[in-house]
Amino acid sequence: MTGWKKLNDMTYLGKSYTRVDGPDKVTGRAKYTYDLKFPGMLYGRILRSPHPHAKIISIDASRVVNMPGVKAVLTDIKDEVFFVGDDVAAVAAETEEIANEALLRFKVEYQVLPFTVREEQAMLDDAPKVFSNRDNNIGSTQDRTEGDVEKGFQEADVVVEQTYHINVQVHNPLEVHGCIVKWQDDELYMWDSTQAVHGERSAMARHFKIPENKVHVISHHMGGGFGSKLGMKSFHIICANLAKKAAVPVKLMLDREEQFLAVGNRPSSIQKIKIGAKKDGTLTAFQLDSFGTAGIGGGAGVPQPYIYQFPNYKVNHKDVFINAGAGAPMRAPGHPQANFAMESIMDELAEKLGMDPLELRIKNDPNKTRQQEYLIGAKQFGWDKRLKSGSQKGKIVKGMGLGSGRWSGGGNRETKANVNIYPDGAVDVKIGTQDIGTGARTIVAAVVAEELELDLKDVLPLIGKSDYPWAPASGGSTTTPSISPTVKLAAEKAKNSLIVRVADEWKVTPDQVIYSKKTFTSKDGAQSLSWQEACELLRAPISEMEKWNEGLSDSGTAGCQFVEVEVDKETGHVKVTRMIGVHDCGLVVNMLTTKNQIQGGMIGEIGYVTMENRLLDADTGIMPNADMENYKIPGALEMPDFNITMFDESERGVIGVGEPPAIPGVGAIANAIANAIGAHFYETPITPDKVLMAIQGKEGKS
């Protein structure tokens, strides 16, 4: 095994190149699950609960089953529903319209039960119970301690105490969730908009008690997931059951409302924080009491104390159940929530200390990479021009803020890939990863092209099928560090096999054959073959399989972002005007898609901090803004100037960068707004109404 070539010697890696499937996507040739149709295919729809908590007493489907066009009905899904949007029954029909009409014909008798949709209320002893078999609504808890917090606060000259309330965000991939299931004899084929073809295969096989090799999951193109498409969900099972009953393929795509209610969200987080520091800014103690909700699921914990070094800390967290759809991992689970609270309180601390926020961070950040990234970012950004908070006059005021992030990433050692070289010179690579919009398909081809010294277009990347060699789910920023080394090793092995074949032909030992730029030459210079001619020597394709190995990838990234905003003090409107990101991810496999990824993370941060808000109506448990009009995400006019710098650590090998860029800007945006108007924010999203009220609170009622 050889390592990566030097950065300067590479044609693709470290450089920018466009996506191999870009033209297919922009012309509509690329077929997403949503686009697929099969002969005789039916359309499935799920009847969902209008109640946040109820027992299903009976379901009368008599007016559904005899409806023309209805081919399969499921009424035995469950007997208790836990949130508005929970599964009740399902139907498959010849058209989507018939299926939708059929939903209106079910007669369901519910015994409505008490519910709770506010985490503060759910924590109380007398709160309605989400799960009747539990004593209360508290899920898993965490307690972590280091050092002696009491002592730490005694040593502090300045102490700040605040509570932060971070609301629920919903993933909102462009393509909603959905799948098509077709049973063929006893084998199951599933076309799925998924982040894990292999994960879905295992889960479906286990659920339906069939061998894994009789389940085939396919995801050619998919329109994003952000973590919400990492595993099997109830709609997959419902679709497969409908398809079994109807004995024809069934397509079940959720609609946007269902996406908001039933397939995941980023949990809320309420963090009561106390932080202490010495006069010179040295942090001494951190204390956190937090709770948050992932609806009927878990995972609302936060990795506090985030980023900065505290010799003493005490962290206490409770997951709280409410009657809402279960949370799901979302781009850097827990980190943006932690970042918002930590960066916010760090800025308040800096203010109290009379210290520059950047200086305070540099003083307390133990990470060497980030120490350098701070300086690069600050210089590019012009941090020295930051004004004292709230010091500007006029209608439009500017503000600056910064924040930091970290992530693990790293490769999965079980990853496998198969590279084939054909007698006609063609090359393909098979790996059971999936492209969730990050450009995975492109880098699979590029790494092989790099290793075989071919052009990108000469390599056919075959991905998105569970019948291909195993690769991990696209989550945790592990995809690129898993697939790049594996694909490289498989390509290297295939190349070596071809060299052996050429050596045989020339009757020399393989070390006498030199391959460079599509040409094989013998060391003595006497013989030479083109790639094409060499391949023609093959009687059968070369097909080499390799496994991931250490040495070509690494884990652990740092990053920081600087944000400038403009606030209109008369309307409370916030415009993010500039965002600068300094990130590292080892060897950058594709500079273009990496920067894309980082920019996407920053856009997500703008949405999270300034707009996105999953509301739940307290009286009914219904989400009033389960649509793209009222659940607001940024559009083209919300885009700032982006400036992204990759801090070069290429010697570390490949590290993932999917999640890291979705973190630092969260607190940075909040701090920039606070810097502009001179008032801090304790609740997300920071919308114009809150900004206006904060300004009014500061300046007194006008």
Partner: protein, 325 residues
């Protein structure tokens, strides 16, 4: 969506008859950008859908000696681009703030003026609210950040159109066609408050339609402006908007007209603010007074107190921008 019969009327005259024949069960459909969404959500389940866009004769922009006439099915985008319409004060600019280019391509002027409110309780099939014939307004104790601070009573919707407030300050009127013929009504009298009837936004009878909007030539003799504040610039309804028209000499305003969107269930005529400002020399002090007078009786709900400040600030800004025109 329920299956429906799709009806192509031959001319505008036949539309009221068709609507009358189906006795409220037919839905008038122009660009469909609002109507279709309600049909999909299931809050409208018509048995007949009447395609008003099939009536070619209602798609025009024409100027005559009295003023500007715009047919009801004229796409919004045409008003934005019309050289003639652009000479009628802030009209074209106001239309340009509506939604997105895609929606302005599809949406019609008549549909914009007659669009149903965006209140999320009204729009959701889950809530049988007072506007849909129920007996409560869920916004009162619910999520009411975007709701009315003025003119609400049994219902707290806000009026959504960006075009109507501007048209009202330009003294536009609408032509209403019924089975017995047509009549002209000033646009400002077209809309009704919930206290009159919480289930309707305007005076149209089930078998009446809007066929034309007329803007008098006087609109060219005044200065006018539409200021819209949206939470999200890329596309959004107005959180609060202010349309102003007036004759301006120096810092003095006369013939002042102000209509506001996003604050009340109808385009809100700011008559109290007008009283303060009209005929006087505008100063910061006077603008402040005007805002205070107008919002003195505002009744914010739990989450929309900010609208009081926002409205005052926008009023001030709109008048300021008008003076600077």
């Amino acid at each position: 969506m329920k299956e429906f019969q799709y009806i192509y009327p031959k001319n505008s005259q036949s539309v009221p008859l068709i609507l009358g024949e189906y006795n409220g069960k037919a839905l008038l459909y122009a660009g469909g950008t609002d109507a279709l969404a309600r049909m999909k959500e299931g809050i409208n389940r018509p048995e007949q859908v009447v395609n008003l866009k099939a009536v070619e004769e209602l798609n025009y922009i024409k100027e005559d000696s009295d003023g500007l006439n715009i047919g009801a099915t004229t796409p919004l985008v045409d008003i934005v681009n019309s050289k003639v319409a652009q000479t009628y004060g802030g009209l074209s600019r106001a239309v340009e703030t509506v939604a997105t280019i895609q929606l302005r391509n599809m949406g019609t002027l008549g549909g914009n003026l007659c669009q149903r409110p965006r209140c999320w309780y009204f729009r959701s099939r889950h809530f049988h609210c007072i506007r849909k014939g129920g007996d409560v307004c869920f916004a009162v104790s619910g999520n009411n950040k975007y709701h009315a601070i003025l003119g609400g009573s049994s219902c707290y919707i806000v009026y959504p159109s960006d075009v109507a407030p501007m048209l009202i300050t330009l003294q536009a009127s609408v032509e209403i066609l019924g089975p017995k013929g047509s009549r002209m009504v000033p646009l400002e009298d077209f809309y009704i408050l919930p206290k009159v009837d919480p289930t309707r936004e305007n005076i149209l009878q089930p078998d009446e339609i809007v066929t034309r909007v007329f803007v008098p030539k006087s609109a060219k003799q005044v200065k006018s402006i539409y200021l819209k504040f949206r939470e999200r610039d890329s596309f959004d309804f107005a959180m609060v908007s202010v349309a102003v028209s007036a004759k301006v000499s120096g810092n003095k305003l006369s013939d002042l007209k102000i209509a506001m969107g996003g604050v009340a269930p109808v385009p809100w005529r700011a008559k109290k603010a007008k009283m303060v400002l009209n005929g006087n020399t505008v100063s910061d002090e006077l603008l402040k007074k005007a805002g205070e007078a107008e919002l003195e009786n505002a009744e914010p709900l739990e989450q929309n107190e900010y609208k009081i400040t926002l409205t005052k600030n926008l009023l001030k800004r709109a008048v300021g921008e008008l003076l600077a025109l």
